[in-house]
Symmetry: C2
Subunit: 427 residues, 2 copies
């Protein structure tokens, strides 16, 4: 195989794995690696020039393929742009840069006739992107959804299995290296939102601006909610989803009650699990490690190998011409989304409360499937409501109306109940 | 996109789905379809010339891509060979032809500089082959295993859930169209053996001659075995697997007890579920419809689209050069395979039987994990033995030794207990 010269930005967890895997592929020559801190001790020797000046990598004319595994929006974005402008192909794991700047980056790549490969940006080692691009060509995708963040799935699994609080489970995830010192991007759902934007681009042709993605994290989830969920036959999972609607696309990130019988409920620990609904294939599910040194590096190096195989073709550009659009995807208003809901309310424990709650739901046109009171000694009572499918907007109106009632001590938790069939009104 | 002219052999279930899906891709022109019986009523109109002479399709010089979905070894093999000899690319769902003649076919295809695509030959709609070929490029595959036959999985699920006999569950599968009138290929494991041969070629480079694959079907499984399995925490699944060993490859098809906590145990009904173990990615699982009109057609048409996209490249042949070898893969002797076993023996119900069984196992160097007697009124007793991991050869010696004892009424059932870690001696 012809020799291909590669440069890399970043030598953290993923970069270390990339160095290890590249050593099995002698035709892929790693020439320069840029790191933030030259003094840091490393577990691998990249066997090439290591610099703390990323420009040295991006400006080296001999480097044909740039691997970007430094993460974060800046300065990664500028470096990727410079690399494309000097006609380097890019393999990136950077979901944030892709989700925030995808349309411009793919437009620029088309102009410069280079490819951007990004298998590692979603679901780590799970080869989801090549599956959608190459394995499901004959399908119109109706939806892609699933568990896309290993950190939050680990935390929720710990909370459920060990009865731990969110804080305790987060601390354990941090101690084990599954969560960052600043966990905001994971636990508030930003990380999943970036991935949903990328999945929308693959399935429907255009990225969704992350600000336009309805997003809820898991910090408000109480171990009581996990107990109630189990009692009703559910597990709580942080679900990201992009669903084709009549005129546009619905995109959401939120913790949901997933029925225990659904295969996504069995995806535990730091695994990812993704369900793709195609009009011909039906429901296809993939489960595997969503992060980690070698799994993520497996996706990065797989991209580099596929790129290198094609790079010497005369017609390379026409074959790898990306179909991803230069515009942002229009999305359905989050209020229009229809789903059954689970609602836990903390109330004063006196007669008539259930009736009042029922009336407020009725006035907001929310049909109730079941309503159950659970007394909690000296803390008032907990009322759990499961609704029929209803627009998100109506549930929110009902909660708002309840806030002015004096029986309500705390609005507790409101979670959508997951179903493949959820969708927007008229969608 | 440039127009590509396509011909098709077969217009059964899969062919009908292909016609439906191709209608969405106007650049893929179906020119001729060969059927066995021109008089048969069809649910689709292929909108082209339909003939009962397949030579008309194979000999048409304008046809660049031949879709073969007629199934069976003959005459499909000869027609595929003719198509390749006249430099047509082939998209086939025919596992039997590939498993029995793969080395010769891929050699011929290389000589003639054409491609053979075969996504539909294994696991129907699940894009397993593109995942291995394109998604896991950076991985050395350690094993591929799973549930590869929807008919037998449906039958076993029915037997377990409804307590039905094998015969009753088979009759239901036939009535629902999940099983053929002659179910031999499915229930005796031939179908899975062909698929295992193909998976070995993808993962390890060479096909395995189907005769060299250790193969057991499900006809001897009794609903009592499913009850015992559940009692011990297992489900019974027909598992096909190809495992890299030290010097060669171990290949097996057999019903196994799968621990309920393993994700394969949850693959129910006519679904397929496949676990790929890669050295970098770790464990990856895919679940989806293993058969059916549109799912399988989705795989066929996906192949045609991918082929058509690349067909106009000047360097087409070099890019699609197949790495599959022209030799047969050497395999490990089936006797060397190590696994724990479940054994159900029907015995005379008198004292000392357990001791005798224990002694015979001991004499054959089989360690027992547990041995449990279940009395069955007026039918003697049933003894269930769970062994420690042991070579298949030893279990078979122990069973042979028991046959000469007068306490044994019936050898009952012997099933391997599934584990990712099972492997051959020294492997």
């Amino acid at each position: 195989m012809a020799r291909v010269v590669v440069g890399m930005l970043g030598l953290g967890t993923v970069g270390t794995g990339v160095v290890k895997l590249l050593s099995n592929h002698k035709h892929l020559t790693l020439k320069r690696v840029a790191v933030r801190d030259l003094g840091k001790e490393r577990t691998v020797d990249p066997g090439c020039h290591v610099t703390d000046n990323p420009e040295e990598v991006v400006n080296d004319p001999e480097i044909e393929v740039l691997i970007e595994v430094m993460g974060g929006e800046k300065p990664a974005l500028d470096l990727i742009v410079k690399a494309i402008e000097s006609r380097k192909h890019v393999v990136t794991a950077n979901k944030e840069v892709l989700a925030k700047h995808g349309p411009d980056l793919f437009k620029l790549a088309r102009e410069k006739e280079v490819a951007i490969f990004f298998e590692a940006s979603v679901a780590g080692g799970v080869p989801l992107i090549s599956t959608i691009q190459k394995g499901l060509e004959a399908n119109q995708i109706a939806s892609i959804l699933g568990i896309l963040n290993g950190t939050t799935n680990f935390i929720l699994s710990q909370m459920e299995e060990k009865g731990e609080s969110f804080e305790a489970a987060l601390a354990k995830a941090q101690a084990l290296g599954f969560a960052e010192a600043d966990p905001t991007s994971d636990v508030e759902g930003f990380d999943v939102a970036y991935k949903v934007s990328i999945l929308a681009a693959l399935a429907f042709g255009n990225f969704v601006k992350p600000d336009n993605i309805f997003r809820r994290g898991i910090t408000h989830i109480n171990s009581v909610d996990l107990e109630h969920a189990r009692e009703f036959g559910y597990r709580i999972k942080l679900i990201g989803r992009a669903d084709r609607q009549k005129d546009n696309v619905a995109v959401r990130v939120e913790p949901c009650l997933v029925p225990i019988s659904h295969p996504l409920a069995s995806v535990s620990g730091s695994n990812n699990g993704i369900v793709v609904n195609g009009h011909a294939v039906g429901e296809l599910m993939m489960v595997g490690p969503g992060a980690g040194e070698l799994p993520t590096a497996s996706a990065v190096v797989g991209d580099v190998i596929n790129l290198a195989t094609a790079l010497r073709l005369q017609d390379f550009a026409s074959y790898f011409h990306s179909a991803i659009g230069a515009k942002w995807q229009e999305v359905t208003s989050a209020d229009q989304w229809i789903s059954p809901y689970y609602l836990r309310l903390e109330v004063e424990d006196h007669p008539g409360v259930i009736g009042k709650i029922g009336s407020i739901f009725g006035a907001n046109q929310v049909s109730i499937q079941s309503i159950i009171q659970r007394g909690v000694a000296d803390q008032g009572a907990s009322v759990v409501v499961i609704t029929q499918p209803v627009e998100t907007g109506r549930i929110e109106s009902a909660i708002a109306a309840m806030k002015s009632e004096d029986f309500l001590k705390n609005t507790g938790t409101c979670l959508a109940i997951f179903s493949n069939k959820n969708g927007a009104k008229g969608g």
